[in-house]
Amino acid sequence: MNRDNVRDEVIRRSGTDPRKCMKCGKCSATCPSYDEMEGHPHEFVYMVENGDIEPLLASESIYRCLTCMACVERCPRGVEPAKIVESVRLEAIRKKGANRLTPEAVAAVADEELPQQAVVTAFRKYAK
């Protein structure tokens, strides 16, 4: 796929319209992972809109979004940045061999109390 195809696919899959963004920055202001991301929610929105997706695919930021939906809830324009981040992350992990999380990695950190919920959710977010 060329750059425009990837852009269109990411936007289509997100179900959102980044053109509605008025660049107020509220999404990044409210993001609990802001300090852990080098690409912040508002940057995801305009970079995807511009088709500048390669840097986002290579960025750790796609694995730092908590899907807490604070940005979705608080966006005054209904842009829903978390859905754009999710779409970019799927673009990355759906590629062959691109799973971010392995069962071995979970086994290494799991303790007696770790709820199944943590494991199933992490696999849904970090692997295909």
């Binding site: 289509r12 992972s33 908590l66 604070a70 779409s87 709820p115 199933v120 959710t121 977010k125």
Partner: protein
């Protein structure tokens, strides 16, 4: 009152008290939680991507079974509730998604969008009534200062869930007061504990949870109450020392259920 019940994977294992205290309390309140015969794990998170179908089928199957039984589908776990309700909403509002889903289902599994998804907190507030619960309290939580922690999954996205005001929720505080406890005011109650990021960046989960737990402690709380096993795990591990309990544990205790045996 008969309702269909979706316990979820974690309530059968690591969060057994969340489940059993809900069942005991429901019994006392005259609610029959009838566990679905063939529920499967909701997956823990709703994937917003429009082209993701297979991961949502377990939720659709649960919705379909509840529809055949003609009863609301109740969950106690915040994550199950969130996933079931968002899947139901996607089914009702996205004809392309609904059409793809139908191709995966057996003929007797068809879903027509007729199931009401409820969190137990909603059922208690809207169908039982906190004033009626207050009348059945035998062990009031007198003098206990409790920080109601909502996190993300009970509240957002609010246009789909509609459980409470996403910025100023009150359902858990109302329950705490009905049980005779004192609900403290604090600012981090609808912020994220870090959730699944625990398995990607334990430091980030710890940072988030410590911030939340410390805020509750600074507000003078004796304990934090939650509906989510993962929130509880993260908050317990964060190390501010404030205990975290499930809302069903408080409910069962106040209603006089023999919770120590659970």
């Amino acid at each position: 009152m008969y309702v269909s019940y979706f316990p979820g994977c974690t309530l059968k294992t690591k969060a057994v008290r969340l489940d059993r205290c809900a069942r005991k309390s429901a019994e006392i309140l005259g609610i029959e939680l009838q566990e679905l015969d063939s529920w499967q794990c909701c997956g823990g998170a709703f994937t917003s991507a429009a082209d993701e179908v297979a991961t949502k089928l377990s939720s659709v199957r649960a919705l379909a079974e509840a529809e055949r039984l003609g009863r609301p589908l109740v969950s106690v776990c915040s994550a199950c509730y969130n996933v079931l309700k968002q899947t139901d909403h996607a089914f009702k509002t996205d004809p392309e998604f609904a059409s793809k889903v139908r191709r995966y289902l057996a003929p007797d599994e068809c879903y027509n969008g007729g199931t009401e998804v409820l969190h137990l907190l909603e059922l208690l507030r809207d169908k039982v009534g906190f004033e009626n619960i207050a009348k059945k309290v035998v062990n009031p939580l007198k003098g206990v200062k409790i920080a109601a922690y909502y996190g993300c999954m009970l509240l957002r996205p609010s246009d789909v869930l509609g459980l409470d005001d996403p910025e100023n929720p009150s359902v858990m505080e109302e329950l705490i007061r009905a049980l005779g406890g004192e609900a403290v005011g604090w600012s981090q109650r609808n912020e994220c504990c870090g959730g699944y990021v625990l398995l990607e960046s334990p430091e980030l989960a710890k940072k988030r949870s410590l911030e939340i737990s410390s805020d509750a402690a600074a507000a003078g709380a004796d304990m934090i109450v939650t509906a989510c096993p993962l929130c509880r795990y993260n908050l317990d591990k964060a190390g501010s020392g404030l205990p975290t309990v499930y809302f069903t544990e408080l409910l069962a205790k106040a209603l006089g259920a023999e919770v120590d045996e659970i």
